[in-house]
Every structure is written in structure tokens, then in C-alpha cells.
Amino acid sequence: MLTKLDDYRFIVPKSFRDGMNVEGLIYADDELIKAIEHDQTVMQVANVATLPGLVGRSLAMPDAHQGYGFAIGGVAAADLNKGVVSAGGVGFDINCGVRLLATGYTLEEVKPKLDALLNQMFRDIPCGTGKKGLLGGLDARSLDEVLELGAHWAVRNGYGTEHDLEHIEETGKIPNANAGHVSRRAKERGHDQLGTLGSGNHFAEVQYVAELFDGEASRTFGLRPGQIVVLLHTGSRGLGHQVCTDYLEVMQAAMKKYNITIVDRQLACVPIRSPEGENYLAAMAAAANFAFANRQLITHRVREAFARVMGKQDVRIVYDVCHNIAKFEEHTVEGEQKRVLVHRKGATRAFPSHRPEIPKDYYEVGQPVLIPGSMGTCSYVLVGTERAMAETFGSSCHGAGRSKSRTAARKDITADRLILELEQKGIHVRGASKSGLTEENPRAYKDVSRVVDVVHRAGIARKVAKLVPIGVIKG
């Protein structure tokens, strides 16, 4: 049974299942908790709480839903000496993330040219299944550089600027990445996928700033009413997926040696300070860097599309956040400053002002937290808070969260009907596949506004701006 702590917090007590080392804490209101209790999410939060060496609580954000091992929307921090790293706790799509681009254009300026702009983007950004990347196949040396340098590699090769790098989590390069710990297979899967959107829930959306909630933060992030922005959602593609697959095997095989027993095979883990743990973290960082470079190359194509259709590119990065990652961070644990490993599986870092990790120009307000909504609804920009630091290891939600399976979603509506409905709302759609579109229809998701309201009221991030789409490109 869950214990309701207040309007937005539910405790999963240690009595929920055998072997829990810490409590669980789920952020939700009375409505969202029903959806969360409907599937295996609560059990997965409890399962994560059985992992050795966790500090604080096993957390789930209001968009949480059943995942593999960890719930999607799960956050867990591990002690560096007693704790473990779990490949499943990061997930298959390592550094799946979101990047927000702000343009110098207004809704009125873009509207008449929207179809041309979408056509250009749809032509230039490879999306959907089986599409080749922007640079074709990378040779082994270049790929290794991408893995170790991330977005810095892209900028060095002419795809972006230093200003871009300052506005990416970790400046687009996670340190200690080692391409040598990424398997040949992972490289084979990834070498021709750099600069591709992929399929599933990945997208590029042209949106406008519809509402501002926080004057100072929106000014600092450079957001104005009616401004056109572009939101990108993609990750590390086949390369990252294979890294996770490879290390699940490594971790399963090594667990015996470390006397670790787990309640779900997908939670396979090893001590952080073990050769297997260190190798995984070096490979994970490399895959994360691939994802940063991927979003950087797609940004380049968005800029080219704006230049061609609108006359000049005028596109700047507001921020770029990881959704699936494990990071070494300083947090206060039971009154003590401590370095811990924070797993975020479908969750966003949400650091407040005055943290050294955030861009200099955002230092006084905090880190932008980017929350994509379901296709054709709306997305949000939030800002990190002190309360997130105190309660969630500086983490917040990452999206609307699915409420229906893909099969069920396909039964909701036909692709043609969905496209018509979206057109009637003023949203133009380009999709690589019809089934892909229907699987991502907004009825298959929770209400992102409700999720964001819970986050805002619970105080683990603060609303800054609401973004409404006018153009959707879907893989």
C-alpha cells in the first residue's frame, strides 16, 4: 500500500516488498497516481529500492510508467563505495534527450512558409527506420573521436559554435568516455546513424512560445511570446542500444562474483568501483557523447533549412538535456555533501541557480528543464529548483508519459484521420510511417500539462514557458 504524504507525494514503504533497502517516493496527484498504479510502475520503484548501496529514496516522477527493470521516470542515486551501477537503470537509449532551439523568427513570419520549412527539414533530417545518417558511414577513427568528444567533435568539424557547446548539459561531452569500451557491434550499428532522428517517440517539432509563466527566467533563456522554436527529441541510436545490450550481459555474468542478487534480471548491476562498472560508465559516456553529436548534426540541418527557407538561419540552442543517463554529482545526503552516482531513467536533471554545472548566462536563474509533450499537444520549459536538489537529486519529469500500448494506440485512430485532426488544429505533419504516427497519437499519452503542474506544485521544477507546435516531423 502507498502512503500519501501530501497532495503530490506518495511513499512506497519498505514493507511493500521484501528486500527494499530504502523507501520509494512517487510524485503524482490523485489522478496520475491511478495511472501509475495501473501497471507495474510501483513494483518497479520497489524493485529498484532493493539494489545495494542506494542513498535517499527510489524515486518516480509524475510521468512514470512501466519500463524494463527501472520504471520510465525513475531516479535512483548510489553511494560510490557501496553502491552499484545498472545498465538497465540508464536504459537502452543512452542519452535519449531533448534540445530546444530558439529562432529569431515570429509565428507570423514563419506561418506562410511553414510547409516549405517542414518539407526542407523532412528532406534533410533522415528519420524513420533504416535511414542513413548525414555523414554516411564514419570511418573507425572519426567514430572514436565522436564517442570521446561528443558535440565538440561536431563543432570542430564545422557543425555549430562554441556558444552551442556552452548550452548543452555537460557541454555536450561527458568526461571519461572511452571508445575502447564500446564493442565493435555497437560501432557497426552506429557508424552510419549519426545525424538521424530514428523512429518511435523521436521527433523534430516547430513550435511557438504560447505562454510565459516566469518573466525573469524566460528573459534569461531568451524566450518571447510568439517566438518560433524547434524542439528535437532523439538519442544515441543503435550504438547506444547495443552498448546497453552488451553490458547487461557483462553485468549479469559478473554479479555472482560480487555476491549481488537481484529481483528482476533487467536490473543487472555491478559495483561502481569495479572493472565492469568502470568499463560500462566509460562506454555509456561514449554512447551519450554520440547522442550529443547526433543532436548537434540535426541542429545543423535545422539551421540550413531555416537559412534556405527564411533567408538566414538565426537559430540558437537554448539548452539540451539528457533523459537516460547515470552521472556523478555532488548532493547533500543526510546532511552531508557527497558525490553519488545518479541514475536518471526517463528523467531530467533540474539544477537550480548557482550550480557550477549550468551555463554562465543562466547561473542566476537555474537550468532549463525541457519537457516535450505528446505529438500535437504542447511542450514546456521549466527551470530547476533548490527543492529538487533537496528531494530528487536535482531531477524532474521528462515528458507526458505513455498511458496506452502502441497496439492500443493504433486502434484509436487512423493516420489519415489523425493528420486531418492535427491540420484542423493548425499543426502540419510529416511522418516517415503511418503506423509510427498513430502509435504516437496524443490519446496514447497522459496529459503533459497535468504532469508539469504536479512537478511545479511539488516544487521540483518551476514553469517558465509553454510551447505549442505548428509543425511535426516524426520518424
Partner: protein, 139 residues
């Protein structure tokens, strides 16, 4: 239970449930089921054959590794399969010939990218009246 594979629902992704007379059939159907999620199998010609030998720690691990191999063939080697013949299978090893073709976007109709094969609610059962397996994929 009808032999063959069927696609299962999961809040985020999809699964495959397979029934067959033997483990051999179950592993063959599972591979074909995975391929059918990625690409329309009717368009794949049996042009090329490859031999696979996979080892695992137990049947469930073997199924994940087997399907991960099929996924790697697609995503890493651009090979889509139309048919599978398992030569030998034991709980810790599988040897098989897979037949198929190199991806040609002009001829092959893609459906969905599959990211990975998971251990979520994974099951392989050998029963007197036949075998079954269930596996979920991250999409």
C-alpha cells in the same frame, strides 16, 4: 494454443509470444516475429545464407542473445531474414542458418526500429504439450 508468434502489448513497447511443438520451433518463430516488427517479411528474398552459433547461460538468456543477434544482423550488418533453420539447440547453445537479403530501401518496407531485446517478463517454457516463449522489445 495456435503455433506461431503473436504480438503482445506493453505500455511503452511490444512483445512477442511464441508457441511451438519444440524449442527449435519457438526460437525460429521468435526470430521471424522480431523481423516482422522491423520490416514487412513478404518482401524479403532468400538471397544469402549465414550461419550463427550463440551460447547462453540458460534458456532465457539464450533467447535474448539469439534475438539480439538477429537485431544486430539487421542494424549492424543490414541483413534482413526471410527464413531460419535451427540445426541444433540446447539450453545453452544454438546453431542456425538464417536466410535473407541485404537491406534495399527500394524493395523492403520498413515498419519500426527495435532498440533492444529485454529481460522484462521474459519466459521460455518447455512443456509436455509443446513449448512457449514470451519476450518484450524496447521500441
Amino acid at each position: 494454443m495456435q503455433e506461431g508468434y503473436r504480438i503482445l502489448e506493453h505500455p511503452a513497447d511490444v512483445g512477442i509470444e511464441v508457441h511451438g511443438k519444440s524449442l527449435r520451433e519457438v526460437f525460429e518463430y521468435a526470430a521471424l516475429g522480431l523481423m516482422s516488427i522491423i520490416v514487412d517479411p513478404t518482401g524479403i528474398d532468400p538471397v544469402e545464407q549465414r550461419f550463427l552459433a550463440i551460447t547462453g547461460t540458460d534458456l532465457e538468456n539464450l533467447l535474448v542473445k539469439w534475438l539480439s543477434e538477429i537485431l544486430y544482423l539487421y542494424d549492424g550488418q543490414e541483413f534482413v531474414l526471410s527464413d531460419v533453420t535451427i540445426e541444433r539447440i540446447s539450453p545453452r547453445r544454438i546453431e542456425a542458418f538464417v536466410t535473407g537479403d541485404i537491406i534495399d530501401p527500394g524493395r523492403h518496407q520498413f515498419r519500426t526500429d527495435v532498440k533492444a531485446v529485454t529481460y522484462h517478463q521474459l519466459k521460455v517454457e518447455e512443456r509436455e504439450d509443446g513449448c512457449m516463449a514470451r519476450v518484450f522489445l524496447d521500441i
